[in-house]
Amino acid sequence: MAGASYAAQVHEPMAMENIQRQPVPIGKVFIQRDYSDGMKVKFQTKLPLEINDRIDQRMFETTVIRLNEIYGDAEALKARIFCEGCLICLTGYLALLCVKSHYERKVKEAARYIQSQNDEVYAPRGLVLVDPFERGLRVIEIVILPQDRG
């Protein structure tokens, strides 16, 4: 086990410990986009069959609907966002170098929401939601982890 000991020398012991406890996923499902309402970011709320034994439809729907709301808010044109856009435009878009756009703030909010959902709802059921932003806003990837039978 030369490789392992070498790694232990190079890195902190915590890394080794983390790796030892790394669960191996047993599958993944992908929640596709729902384009029925146009181009805005919206995901399908139908619970995939592969995980219907782990989580119920209502809980899953709540998560996806909330996520859709956050992304919908990012793209909606409200007066405040319109003014912000106009102001940024008038500066020749130089203001974008300093401030984050409204959309970016919403993406961060969605990431925080997914994290909290993972911690509270999905991880105890052996599921992990991957932020769709990391998949190009194409799919919500759900990683199915083996559940602790012990």
Partner: protein, 497 residues
Amino acid sequence: MLSPQTNISAPRPTDSPSSSRYAALDNGANMAKRKWQVLPGRNSFYCDGRIMMARQKGVFYLTLGLIVVTCTLFFAFDCPFLAGRLSVAIPIVGALITIFCLSTLLRTSFSDPGVLPRATPDEAADIERQMEVPNPDNPTYRPPPRIKEVTINGQTVKLKYCFTCKIFRPPRASHCSLCDNCVEQFDHHCPWVGNCVGKRNYRFFYLFIVSTCFLAIYVFACNITTIVLLSNEEGGFLEALKRKPARYPLPFNFTPIASIIEALICFISIWSVLGLAGFHTYLVASSQTTNEDIKGTWSSKRSQATFNPYSHGSVISNCCMAICGSLAPSLIDRRGFVVPSDPAVVTSSPTRPLHSYGTAAPTNTVNFSDSEDSNSRLSSSSDSDHHDNKGGLSVTMTSNLTDQSTDPSPFTVANDTMGQRSTSAVTSNGKVLHLGPVNSVHPSPTTPRETQPLLRSEVTMGDGDKQGQTVSPLGAGEGGDSLQGMSNWGLVKLSSV
């Protein structure tokens, strides 16, 4: 409370792997690479990933040169003349328009047009599984283009499958053959700005051509004014040329010559830019892309029932959304660090219930888990606070392998955070198979089905797949023996290191 480890490579709980080079360091010899260095596609990157352009930039330099030369001549010759005789506002307005024009040009050229990241191996495998199986007897068989129909606001739209990116393109997205990327809301590839024009930079492009129109008209008007005023003062154009101004050490008055040069440039460019600005104003107002307009996708001539499902209702709202709507952040994280993630994992087969895969973690050489602990306990680590990392979960597929499709040299695969070298096995057809980090020496017996998809996915990613070869669906009958053989090969490689 159990919470899955979100990134096993982060040694400190407070570090965000995407921002911490330490998290992605290998044995210390090389600094971690940024994601732009491994992105597929034919883009050029500068300033450590901050600037993204197409490869061919010659015409962009011409555009930039023309604007810079014209404006330099304008501010050097026309502005002092006119500021003294008419108003000091003339150079100020000129400067504002010039700055706006250059700013929007550089924004258009340097920003991500809305490139869609390619599918991760798992995603691609999931899509492939839903398609029909290619004929295994004919290796060159390519299935016909896949179409998925969706209904958007009442209109049926066909989504095409992109063989290069291995995704079903979202509506309005298109694959740019020059940049080799799928781009959201693809308008066209513009050589004048040296980049694609898509969802994220369309407003900059539109404002650039509009401001160029204004700039050209403004400078042209100033040139005519300068020539007329100068000729009147000196009693003729030729006399005006002979006058020697004290400002510049030239044997003759260059101001009228400069004005003429500028006027010529403006006159020639105004015709094309004005037409383009008018055309794109129409596109913005009707919420269409150049592609859609040229093909007449939403033209009412097609049928009475055809309407544009992407329109926001009125011209005003279309214009507002296009120009003042909130700008989406880039989907490709160029400046994040490449974090070696886990090797390929089993993807769920629709024909097999998941519980039949069992819970024991496979501990053969293709797997990252430690062979001493073959229990698959969920990690109760508290390192779950860096979800804003751009590297993704460590439990995910080797998405980095996807990014390396053009460059199989495994700098990430080879140097994982454990400081180990991954093994590469050369398969019989010469392709390099990345087996992932080799940790255990003893490959434990595993079910062939469990590890077979692992290998298949990795094979696909490792061979610089640009021809869109499809992966055979999982579950085809390849024995576990060949797998064990490859695992042993990995063993041999390790021992020789």
